[in-house]
Symmetry: C2
Subunit: 258 residues, 2 copies
């Protein structure tokens, strides 16, 4: 939960609003008003007033059992330019890659030391995965994350190495030296592999996507069962699709929304 503390005055109004919105997560669709008070630590009267205002703006919706996040937030979120432009350009490439491989295709951006999934196209032959659109995973533990890190400025890699490399599976790379070696190989190859590093039983091949100025902006991946997917075969496919997105971003560079 984030909040803006002011000297002695407690959270600002905006801080309180954000505390209310942040009380919702993937596991809680609907929250009772009393529970919202407990989660945010705000007085009951404040919660009541903020909830009323948020409902009137469509940011929250009333439900039998309390309130839930409102469709207006979904609409607003879809306008966010950094993901919208990329997602629109990548959509046909993602669809083709899914059709050609029958595997699940991910599009992700780096945010801090984590990857944020911008779009997912589920393949008919793919396993159930821990990713979801709008969800995050530690960059070092995923194919898309390693593909982006390999082509990121040193400061970005340093930020990842300064934190503990958390373990998502027994195969997650948690040794900084090993991670740096892999990033070097990914730079040479243009493709990153995830060998059951984000979750046991699944593997992926990922490739970076570059913006008009040559800076890495995202990565694309294809994920399948570890005992069925052939990464040597999937590598060129995902690499080709990522190059296509890069080319489209470059040719649309001048038209892109700022």
């Amino acid at each position: 939960m984030r909040s803006t503390e002011r000297d002695g005055a407690g959270p600002s109004v905006l801080g309180r609003v954000i505390a209310v919105l942040d009380a919702f997560d993937t596991t809680t669709g609907c929250i009772a008003i009393s529970e919202l008070g407990r989660r945010t630590g705000l007085p009951k009267s404040t919660v009541h007033r903020l909830v009323g205002e948020l409902i009137s703006h469509g940011f929250l919706e009333r439900d039998d059992a309390g309130v839930r996040l409102g469709l207006r937030l979904f609409e607003l979120g879809q306008l966010v330019p950094r993901q919208r432009h990329l997602r629109d350009i990548a959509a046909p490439y993602m669809a083709d890659l899914r059709e050609a491989t029958r595997h699940t295709v991910h599009l992700a951006m780096l945010d801090g030391t984590e990857v944020l999934y911008v779009n997912i196209s589920h393949g008919p032959d793919s396993p159930k995965l821990p990713s979801r659109v709008g969800g995050r995973l530690p960059a070092h533990a995923t194919g898309v994350g390693k593909a982006i890190l390999a082509f990121s400025p040193q400061a970005v890699i340093d930020r990842v190495l300064q934190k503990e490399l958390v373990r998502l599976s027994p195969r997650t790379i948690v040794a900084p030296g090993l991670l740096l070696q892999q990033l070097e190989a990914i730079r040479r190859r243009g493709v990153a592999f995830d060998n059951e590093e984000s979750s046991l039983g699944t593997v992926c091949a990922a490739s970076p996507v570059f913006g008009p100025e040559g800076e890495v902006v995202a990565a694309l991946s294809v994920t399948g069962w570890s005992n069925r997917a052939n990464l040597q075969r999937l590598g060129p496919a995902v690499h080709t699709a990522a190059l296509g997105i890069t080319r489209s971003l470059r040719s649309l560079g001048q038209l892109a929304p700022r």
Copy 2:
């Protein structure tokens, strides 16, 4: 632009925050702070303070030319339960329908008198369309809208008829009597057709999706070129996929997030 007016005191803090966020639309990726002041009518100092706070929470991001909506809004929007649950369940059916027809597949919900597009899977053989994820169109002028209205309570249909039926194309149905006749036919058939009603040159077949209690919650559609797509052939395909989503929603009814 929405804002909450209080007796004599002007917009509340939340109203001002929402005025700032509402200043962004599909055409404006990035706005200069001075322009933000003009668009919201708020004093410069207020805009500066709110923008600073919104940036610190990730709701806005700084850009060379000003500020833009931040990734945190995209993340929050993805959590909105009404669209998330539906989109997750519908995803594999949408992908199959796109693969089987090679046309663009839409998933939309009704919000007031408009449809809100929750997900779109672009087909390789499809025309450029006026729809986008998170975008809206008037319900009466679209296949998905008519499919939902046909199975909605009378009060919902009345709300649509109380407003002027705006024209999106020369073929949009703008006569209330004709719309009611069509809704009756859609109820019998289980499929709605859009014959160049939302835009000239494109046609679509749409079918309603029902929730666990039998209430209509969304509609699915397949869109193609008017001179190439065969609606008689596409009707059963989209109907079948919509029935599949309905069945999945019903069987997952007890597990659904509230």
